[in-house]
Symmetry: C2
């Protein structure tokens, strides 16, 4: 049995106890942008429940064009007003450089990605970079509450980046 | 108190019961790509626990360059082998067209986004489009198990797209 099949069996259990549907717009008017890291259970970390918040995630929790797209849709069409950014300690993005990663892909498949891999060397510094990219975008209208954190994978605690 | 502050108070409770750290690579070797919709609690829907799977999310659960970046890092550097795509019923992406959304932004701020908003009219069809984009990318090496689902927000059930 594949892992996918195993997780589908879990879904049958989840559906058996499910009550819905909830409204489409997030009840808490917040969008969270976090790293895809397996150890960050965003709903658990923030005490969220189904229907509370948009959750956007990618490798690193960085802000590229696609996160601006998601945040623009979240704020302009679905009424979110606050943004929470979550990077974390022991991140995979600290373990490589863009140049080496893209060179290894080029060696394997003959094509070098035209995109940045978005590796970084300091999670706090990259949180500040993510905030700067959001502040610099004309497409994200609500910027009064854009706060960033580094999740500590040893303690489960969010530490704010000032 | 802002919603962000309220969620930080929840985090203090989470951290009080936290045991870590777990290993960096996802234990179940799977990456999930889902819509950012507030009603999709990916960990709950799939019965995942901290450390199990990469979770990538955006408006629609679509595959753009940034999701290829995340999947490339997930598979090439952190050992994931299966991909699960999750779109859902009653999606916000069904409620607008790219043209209208981008025109409204242009009218508000004077700048039209150079990116696609990635709206769609049928979640199942867009799941197939997402699978096609992954299959077409040279940067995602493992494609033996790329399966897509539409999450039913009324029942909590994942329905596979064939």
């Amino acid at each position: 049995m594949s892992v996918t099949d195993e997780l589908l069996a879990n879904n049958a259990e989840y559906a058996a106890n499910f009550t819905g549907p909830l409204p489409l717009p997030p009840a808490k008017h917040v969008a969270v942008l976090a790293c895809m890291d397996a150890r960050i259970n965003v709903y658990g970390v923030l005490g969220l429940h189904e229907g509370d918040a948009h959750v956007i995630r990618n490798a690193g929790g960085v802000v590229t064009e696609d996160e601006i797209r998601s945040l623009a849709i979240s704020q302009r069409l679905l009424g979110t007003e606050e943004i929470i950014l979550i990077h974390h300690t022991d991140c995979g993005m600290l373990t490589f450089t863009d140049d080496d990663f893209k060179k290894s892909i080029q060696e394997d498949v003959g094509v070098k990605p035209a995109w940045a891999a978005e590796s970084f060397t300091d999670p706090g510094e990259d949180v500040r970079q993510s905030i700067a990219r959001i502040r610099n975008s004309p497409f994200v209208p609500k910027k009064d509450s854009v706060r960033g954190f580094v999740f500590d994978v040893a303690t489960g605690r969010l530490n704010e980046v000032e």
